[in-house]
């Protein structure tokens, strides 16, 4: 990713843009899902669980952002967010279905 070339190819720029989009938007969604999952399942009073979920969410966001730029391709960035995202959504959904939440 060392841009020593005179002008960077469009494909490179698109890949970077894709990663940025994944990190910013996708990362936010993953973080939000992580906070919901955590607050649904952690054995605390409701308000405390929500506070815990929110505080921890930023660590999830950080992880998502780092992943988006560390992985080999832009495609993998998105995949690496979508798969955990779906799992977290399932975990939250399970909590709702079981009657916790």
């Amino acid at each position: 990713m060392k841009g020593k070339t005179r002008s960077l190819p469009v494909s490179y720029r698109l890949a970077v843009a894709s990663r940025v989009l994944a990190a910013v938007l996708g990362g936010y969604i993953v973080a939000a899902l992580a906070s919901v999952s955590l607050s649904s399942w952690v054995p605390m009073a409701r308000a405390d669980a929500v506070v815990t979920g929110m505080m921890a969410s930023f660590l999830a966001y950080l992880g998502a952002v780092i992943w988006c730029f560390a992985c080999r391709t832009a495609g993998r960035a998105w995949l690496g967010l979508i798969v955990p995202g779906l799992m977290l959504a399932a975990v939250s959904g399970l909590a709702y279905w079981v009657g916790r939440s």
């Binding site: 919901v36 607050s39 009073a45 308000a47 405390d48 930023f58």
Partner: protein
């Protein structure tokens, strides 16, 4: 893969740092200044005397005043003076507000000794820096969103920086001055690594402070959209008892301070709310001073019946998650900090500001080396250069201009407070123009020299425009006033040195030396 990971993080660190660097520099600088906002406000309203009076005496003064001027009000609020905020302020509300709304208040500042109303010159004071650093002079709630986004980017930049810095332990004590770009990188690493606990705390706590606004998903999910329900649970609403309609004399409030102190094991009261004064159903809510403990207490309160003095209730100890959130809040605000610790907060805040500033200088310097031979700089680099100069030295000139405006604007000018703020932004804007018109080094030297002049001359300006000059403030032991003058003087000295260094660095032999030792961040990543 290891190699690739570090390189990727170096790339992320560089670009995250650049895109948000100027905003973060402004946030860090104004936030750092906000640690002394009470002292700044005192300097900017020198007419209001700083008198130390006991809490009980101030409360008596406040009660007398309110019984005379606000007898029929539905609610009184009294802010007691403390070490840093010597003013006594009272507010009252004639008619109760609708649920969830703030309501209309009349506010007065009183002299805690005489009970007379005090009027200082109209100014935002230190509050301007405090509010700016998280609201960015933007309408609610956009400023807060932007500053919290900036905080997240800062967090990413910090962590990616740690990952990138391969020799974080080996180079822990390394600082090699007088070696051009190498020194700038050493300096950047030093202020970053040595003060890392502070930077991480400040950054993460700023995310926690606005987390309900930026990450509400779990509130919405757990409370099925009833956000108000969440806030009611976390901040138990002070229930206002019904007005009975039967008049009864309000008991003296001062003895309640001692009762509250017993409840809190020695804690101080910060403010009082009197509901329905003059009625049989009057209640007095004493809220603990936030400066009492590190864990910021959101409304640790004791409630008494206003007529009989009977204890009506206390708020329970916070749960662990709420205590943790409170700790983040308390550590960020630093209300608990005494003078020594407060100065350390200030120093570490400046270190954070310097970390960002050196990063921006390094970003440009490295790329300028590549274009050193050609006469003209490509547009992108020129843009970064202008933003660096205006965003850093220009901002500091604007801060000084804010103080100068406070002393020079006529006292009776309408909208005086707004004009002081305007002066800040106008000067900042002019610094951008100046940086565009004047090339590189010259713009730096001129703006740094101007900052040196404006800051250094503050004590003189103070002496010429008010009777509260350094001689008087030192003699009276008014340390806030004297400290402000002296700190501005020291700042002026620092900028003089900086301007001189910048001027010398512009000399030819320096440029050759810099070229002879090109450093590459990529090598660092290996």
């Amino acid at each position: 893969m290891k190699e690739g990971f570090r390189q990727a993080m170096a790339w992320l660190h560089t670009w995250a740092g650049l895109t948000f660097g100027w905003l973060l520099f402004a946030i860090f600088l104004t936030g750092t200044l906000a640690y002394f906002k009470d002292e700044t406000s005192h300097w900017m309203q020198p007419e209001i005397p700083a008198r130390s009076v006991s809490s009980e005496a101030s409360l008596n003064v406040a009660q007398n005043y309110l019984e005379q001027h606000a007898a029929g009000a539905s609610r009184w609020l009294i802010e007691l003076p403390d070490d840093r905020e010597p003013g006594l302020s009272v507010r009252w509300q004639q008619t109760p507000a609708k649920r969830g709304e703030r309501g209309q208040f009349t506010e007065k500042h009183l002299d805690p000794q005489t009970g007379a109303e005090v009027q200082g010159r109209e100014t935002s004071g230190g509050e301007f820096f405090y509010r700016f650093h998280f609201q960015l002079q933007m309408p609610y709630p956009w400023g807060r969103w932007l500053s919290t986004i900036a905080a997240m980017v800062m967090f990413v930049a910090l962590i990616s920086g740690i990952i990138t810095h391969k020799k974080i332990f080996k180079d822990f004590f390394t600082f090699r001055p007088r070696k051009g770009q190498r020194s700038w990188l050493d300096g950047h690493n030093a202020v970053a690594v040595l003060v890392l606990p502070f930077h991480l705390m400040i950054t993460y706590s700023s995310l926690v402070i606005f987390m309900s606004m930026v990450m509400p998903a779990s509130i919405l999910a757990s409370y099925r959209g009833d956000v108000r329900g969440f806030f009611d649970e976390v901040f138990p609403a002070s229930t206002t008892p019904e007005l009975s309609g039967q008049p009864a004399a309000l008991a003296p409030l001062a003895p309640l301070l001692e009762k509250a102190r017993e409840q809190w094991g020695g804690g101080r009261t910060g403010r009082l709310t009197v509901n329905n004064p003059g009625d049989t159903n009057a209640s007095v809510v004493l809220v603990r001073d936030g400066a009492d403990r590190v864990v910021h207490d959101f409304g640790s309160a004791v409630t008494f019946n206003g007529v009989t003095g009977q204890l009506l209730g206390t708020t329970p100890e916070p749960s662990l998650p709420r205590a943790i959130a409170g700790s983040f809040y308390g550590l960020h605000m630093g209300h608990f900090a005494g003078p020594v610790l407060r100065w350390l907060y200030f120093v570490f805040g400046l270190a954070g500001t310097a970390m960002i500033g050196t990063g921006l200088v390094i970003w440009l310097g490295k790329r300028q080396l590549k274009h050193a031979k050609s006469a003209a700089m490509p547009f992108e680099l020129r843009l970064v250069e202008v933003l660096n100069i205006a965003g850093m030295s220009g901002l500091m000139v604007a801060v000084a201009a804010f103080f100068w405006a406070n002393r020079l604007l006529p006292l009776g000018l309408a909208g005086r407070a707004a004009w002081e703020v305007n002066a800040f932004f106008i000067v900042w804007g002019l610094s951008v123009l100046h940086a565009v018109v004047r090339r590189g080094r010259r713009a730096w030297v001129e703006q740094l020299a101007l900052a040196a002049l404006l800051f250094g001359a503050v004590p003189l300006l103070n002496a010429l425009t008010t009777p509260y000059h350094l001689g008087a403030s030192l003699a009276q032991g008014d340390w806030a006033m004297a400290g402000f003058d002296l700190t501005c003087l020291a700042t002026g000295v620092f900028f003089t040195w900086a301007a001189w260094k910048m001027q010398r660095a512009a000399q030819p032999e320096r440029v050759i030396r810099v070229r002879a030792q090109p450093i590459t961040l990529e090598q660092e990543a290996h």
